[in-house]
Every structure is written in C-alpha cells, then in structure tokens.
C-alpha cells in the first residue's frame, strides 16, 4: 500500500457528482426559503465531497445581524437531515482573521472551504480568501518542529530500542502531518481525514512515510477490524486506569467538556470504526492506532506512549498497544523522509512573509 494506491481508492469513494449536485440543490432550496441572508454556504462532508446520499447536510447562513440562542436548527427534508447554523456577518469575519492554531484554523477552513449556494454580494468568496490567508501560529509551529527535529536527532543516533524508535517516528510523523495540514486550505480537520486531506494537499510522500511508520501495508478488512478492536481494548483499559467513563458512555454524552480529551479519543475510535464500516480500511487502521496513541495522554506518564502505558498500565497494557504494530524498527528511509518533510515545514516557516 502506498500513497498513490490509496489516492486511487479514495477517488472512487468520493461523493458521486449526481448526489453532490442534488444536495447542493436541496441546500439552495432551503436557503431560498429562509428569508434574508447575506450568504448561504454548504459546509462539512458535502462541501468536501465525502458524504453519502443520506449523510446530514450542513448549511451556514451568514446573517446581517448578530444571532441569538436559536442559532442552530434541524429538520428532515426529502429524507435528509438538514442542520442549519446561523452566523452573524461580523462573527464570520472575526472567524477568518489573523493567525491561529488547530481550532481557529479549522473553524475558518469550515467557512473557507464551503460551497456557496447563495452569495449575491460576494461575501462567501471574501470569507474564502480571508480563510486561505490565515496562517498557523508561528511560535507553535516552531515549537512543534523543534520537538520533531530533536526526536529525529535521537532517531539518527539510534537511541532507544527498536519499538521505542518506531513509536518515536510515528510521533514525529503525526506532528508533521499536523503542521503540513495547517498550511493547506482544509487545515487539520480530524484524524479521520488526515490521510485523505494530505493526499488532497499533494503531500503523497508524507502519506507514504506515515503508512510505513504505522506499518499499514495492505487495505484489507480483517486487518482494519483487528486494529479497531485492538485499539478499543487499549483505550478501554486506559479509561479504567484514568477513572474515565467507558467509551460508549463518552460517546453518548456528546459534548463532554469535563472529559474533553477522553471524548476526543472516543470520537477518534468511533471514526475508525466508521471508516472500517465504509470500506476505508487503510484509514481505519491509521485512525485506530492514532486513537490508541492519543489515549496515552490521559495517563500523564513521562516516557512516550509505550513508556506511559508500561508505567501506568503495566507490561500488559504496553503489550496490547504494541500488538497494534508488527514491531519493526524505525526504517532509515522513513526517518529520512520525515526529515525531508520537517525541512519543508522549516523552509516555509523561514520564508519571508
């Protein structure tokens, strides 16, 4: 499995043109019936052409006046759940200004990558331009890149045992994927879309490196199911140790600020299961393993993912985590590819504005 094979398979999973047009037409109809709005934008999976015919249709109405508590509404039309968010003009402008990090850039990209179905004044086009001009926060890019380089120096020196090196390389590549995506218009949406969005951004070599580091050599269903189940076990045990509610409970809570990090891990695992159910096996394997890696953060250990699992959950938990991979050492070529990717981010950072 490599980036170009994955890209070909993802193209075949894109929303069919007829379905896409139908959904835009439905959005335009809803916008037409909604009274006066500055612009109506289709956002989310429809705008990015990765929705099914029955998926929710997300629309943002930009309004001239600020919005109140009735910002969100939902209705089912022609068998499709239509979720509408009303957003004041000033707020939309504020969302697409300056620099930001993951959250701010994702919010801006939601508007920036939207498909306008009603835009009489060109406001949607202005939002798209403003969102594209936003940049990831320089200090945070630099700090993240510094961590990546320090890890690459250690990898170059051959420090640690084979499993630790392989895991450190996965960590480097996770960070590099984040930095690469933050540079591109879609930004970092969530782990579920990382591989697809990296391919969309033309970052094929980085995808190749990630697939190699995560030891994803084939896109078969059995391996994907095993990965989701294995990650589920690691996460369930991690929740037990950390005193968190169970995975299903967290999902049922929806927005759960008290358990924000665990909730994110659970949504990630749920996305992996969803990808597996939709036949996106390569992405399912990646997201499942990524969710397990994220779960280590809940245990506040001091020695990387493997060390943390071993320290807080004993050898058994570390073994369960390592069972998600074949146990190969970090491949020198992949380490070099990570360095190339890091240098690309650095050159962009150091380029005069």
């Amino acid at each position: 499995m490599n980036a170009s094979t994955l890209a070909a398979s993802l193209r075949s999973l894109e929303t069919p043109e007829a379905v896409y047009r139908e959904r835009l037409a439905l959005a335009a109809r809803v916008a037409g019936e909604s009274g006066r709005v500055v612009a109506a934008l289709v956002v989310g999976s429809t705008a990015l052409r990765r929705c099914s015919a029955r998926a929710d249709l997300d629309i943002v109405f930009v309004t001239g006046a600020p919005t109140g508590p009735d910002r969100f509404s939902s209705q089912v039309i022609d068998g499709v759940r239509v979720e509408v968010e009303r957003l004041g003009r000033r707020r939309a402008l504020a969302c697409t200004e300056g620099d930001g990090w993951v959250w701010e850039l994702r919010e801006a990209a939601r508007l920036g990558c939207a498909v306008p179905v009603l835009d009489p004044t060109g406001f949607a086009a202005e939002l798209a331009m403003r969102a594209a001009l936003m940049a990831p926060r320089r200090a945070q890019v630099e700090a993240t890149l510094r961590d990546v380089y320090v890890a690459l120096v250690a990898l170059g020196r051959g420090e640690g045992d084979a499993t630790q090196r392989a895991d450190a390389l996965r960590g480097c590549l996770d960070n590099l994927a984040l930095l690469a995506l933050l540079e591109h218009p879609r930004r970092y949406q969530k782990a579920k879309w990382v591989l697809a969005d990296l391919l969309h951004a033309g970052e094929g070599p980085l995808v190749d490196a990630i697939l190699a580091a995560y030891e994803i050599d084939a896109g078969d269903g059995a391996a994907a199911r095993d990965a989701v189940a294995g990650a589920g076990e690691v996460i369930a045990r991690t929740y037990e140790i950390a005193g968190m509610p169970a995975h299903d409970e967290l999902l049922a809570m929806g927005h759960a600020p008290r358990f924000a990090q665990a909730s994110y891990v659970s949504r990630c695992l749920d996305d992996a299961a969803d990808l597996e159910a939709s036949g996106r096996f390569v992405e399912a394997r990646y997201v499942a393993a990524f969710a397990a890696r994220l779960a280590a953060g809940l245990l506040w250990g001091g020695g990387g993912v493997i060390g943390t699992f071993a320290e807080r959950g004993g050898d058994e938990l570390a073994r369960r985590y390592l069972a998600l991979f074949d146990g190969a050492d970090a491949d020198d070529l992949v380490v070099e590819a990570a360095l190339v990717a890091a240098d690309a981010r650095r050159e962009r950072l150091e380029r005069p504005a």
């Binding site: 510094r146 380089y149 990898l155 170059g156």
Partner: protein, 142 residues
Amino acid sequence: MGEIFHALEVLNRTMKLGLRPPEILRAEMGFKSALARQGNPNPMLPDDPVALTEGYELVAELRPRAEPLSLGQLSTLAKREMTRPRTKVDARTLKQIDKAIDATVPEKVPTTAMKSPAAGTKKTAPAKKTTVAKKTTAKKTR
C-alpha cells in the same frame, strides 16, 4: 583517571547499579575506544583501547549552556546523525579490553570506595583489596 570514569562512578552510585570498578573501567575503555573511532579529529590517536586508556583522557569542562540550536542547525545535526556511524564497541575491542583489565586491574582500580546496593554498611573495605579478593575468587571458580 579522567572525567568519564568519574561520571560513571556517579552514575553507579546515583542509580545504585552496583557496578564493580573493573566493570566501570571496562565501560570507560569501551567509551574512549568508540569515541576515538567516531571521528575524533586527532589523527595520532592509537587504535588500541589499552593504549588509549593509558595515554589519553577525556577532559570535560563546565561552561554556560549554548544558545538553543536554530531549526536549521537542528536539521543539519539530524542529517549528520543519520549518516554517522553509530557509537559502538565491536566484539574484538571488548575482548582486548577484557584481556587488558584482567592483566591490569589491581593496579588500575581507583581508591574511591564503591558501595553496592545490597551493602548496608556505610563504609566498605578499600576498593583495591576488595577487587583483588573478588577477582581471585572469580578466577578460582572459573
């Protein structure tokens, strides 16, 4: 004795490793040998680990920490580390070291008292005598 030996002694004590002086000496000789082969600019350095140990020492100094490396410097360092032969001591060198230690340990052992983790007493017998005694016992049991 050189700073490597002292560093290893501190490591031995703080981490309660229970290493005996000949073992520390072995590590010191291995490290010097690896360092000499790893691109030390002095072309006069001997290959022989014993000659290195006897005739050379690594001198360390404390100085103000340098400015953090820039991203560009880190990148260069990562590149260099990826292509540089890794610090290792081959089996042949270790054999030479062991042979040299076997022959020279009684004279080379430092006078610093070493405390094993199991030892509950505050002071141990002079290291030189202990080592010689242990060494003799070890040889007898072989």
